[in-house]
Symmetry: C2
Subunit: 285 residues, 2 copies
């Protein structure tokens, strides 16, 4: 596949979080595993649309035929401006929306807070045969939850184990959980926020609270480090994607999705009717 | 706008159902209002992506900013193979999925049947600032519902008025309801069904019940005629889109969506914070 040609190391290997991983060592401008430049990266992203869309259509076909056993769930986490929206628009947006289930998790409602933190998450797990996307997720409950002390310390502690168990359960259900942290530098975030303040067509993307959270950057990086260490498992590994270069982040996530779908290897469903009979019925109709 | 240049009559005018409309008079291979050929139509569809995506992003921005008052709801109805899926994939699929709310209505569940026919529909009306799409809709309840006598005759009769009242209520809420019947000929359907039987990658799209319904073609056309007559209103007009030529149907629906969004004329939300203050806060962070 042409989109693989400039990958010296598969994205999943180059980006996955293994024991000993240290977030502070990641270069947010790097392009791990990929040897091309920006123009080549954009061309490879374009070249990756067809294989991704083909795999996703096959999976969707299985869901329509009632034979799907697998699904993919892309979990997107990141500091503000890191590019979650761009991933949804440019990577996920390139496939048939009929097979996509997108869930954006905002600040929990009073009703959601009255339940366990996984209550609202569980309800949005993708159906078999679908490509699910979580724009933010249950990880907020150990990220802003930890930094802002939104729950008692022992409850935050409990959550790491609860998440590992939950994701193992999802994997048992046939869900390939692809967890992505888009990782930008604090300096890159400043430039992107400044851009939003400059441009009237971007004002809506800026929120004064972004700067409040930014002031806690190091605390957030610590919270990410703990979350990555404690919840990256063989069944549901984390991938830290350097995201200062948007083209690389999009290309890398596209590759991760292609790999997850290729791992399911969905085949076109066979006919559950007799083709010859149906041809006759149709001809006579 | 370049995509308008080959429209001698705006799509909305060329396709809307007015008093005296007769479905049997519609040429399913025609391209009402549009003077271009297939190649030009495909180029114009491509040219229409940017204006559609721009309008939709502005509307979505309003929903994020909490200032949205309007939304658009595309209602798609058609006989099997007419191309609903292609519209979702190629027209709706070209905009940011974050702003799209897609609802596919299948055969009602036991729970849904225990409620009024509009119960499940009401729950899926798009939020303000969104582009909603109904792949099939409440019209099934006066189409297959009428043809297959799935409800008593007086209940079917009641539904036309209930639909008109429901859609007027939706319009009051700021929802632009764009109703589209994709209209193919019975012969064109035969070719498309035959193609699904020929190609292993299309077998999943074929269902023996498609031929059962096809046998009732004339009854369905009668049911459409009645539905179009009784539910095409100034607030929520029907558009009958000739769909034997897929390129035309896609181009026409794209135009209808652009017109509905342009009618809302969504502007970028202004900053609800002090820009100078935020620039200082950001610089100091």
């Amino acid at each position: 596949m042409s989109s693989h040609s400039r990958w010296s190391t598969p994205a999943a290997d180059a980006l996955s979080v293994a024991p000993g991983f240290r977030l502070v060592d990641v270069d947010t401008r790097a392009t791990p595993g990929y040897d091309g430049d920006k123009d080549q990266g954009k061309a490879d992203l374009e070249a990756g649309v067809a294989p991704l869309a083909d795999l996703q259509e096959r999976l969707f076909a299985q869901s329509v035929a009632g034979t799907a056993t697998g699904s993919v769930l892309l979990v997107l986490q990141a500091m503000d401006t890191a590019g979650k929206g761009g991933i949804v628009k440019h990577v996920v947006g390139a496939v048939d929306p009929q097979g996509v289930e997108l869930a954006s998790f905002k600040k929990p409602t009073a009703e959601e807070l009255s339940h366990d933190f996984l209550w609202r998450i569980r309800k949005r797990l993708p159906d078999a045969g679908r490509l699910g996307v979580f724009d933010r997720s249950h990880y907020e409950d150990v990220l802003i939850g930890r930094v802002r002390e939104l729950a008692p310390a022992d409850e935050i502690e409990r959550r790491y184990g609860a998440i590992v168990a939950f994701e193992a359960e999802a994997a048992e259900l046939g869900i390939r959980v692809v967890k992505v942290m888009l990782h930008i530098s604090k300096e890159e975030q400043r430039e992107r926020l400044a851009d939003r303040l400059e441009r009237p067509d971007k004002h809506w993307k800026y929120n004064p609270s972004d700067v409040d959270e930014r002031a806690l950057w190091d605390d957030y990086m610590d919270a990410y480090q703990v979350a990555l260490e404690r919840t990256s498992t063989p069944l549901a590994p984390w991938h830290v994607v350097p995201a200062d270069r948007k083209w690389y982040a999009r290309l890398a996530v596209q590759q991760l999705l292609i790999d997850a779908l290729a791992d399911i290897d969905p085949q076109w469903p066979g006919a559950d009717y007799d083709i010859a009979t149906e041809k006759q019925r149709l001809a006579a109709s």
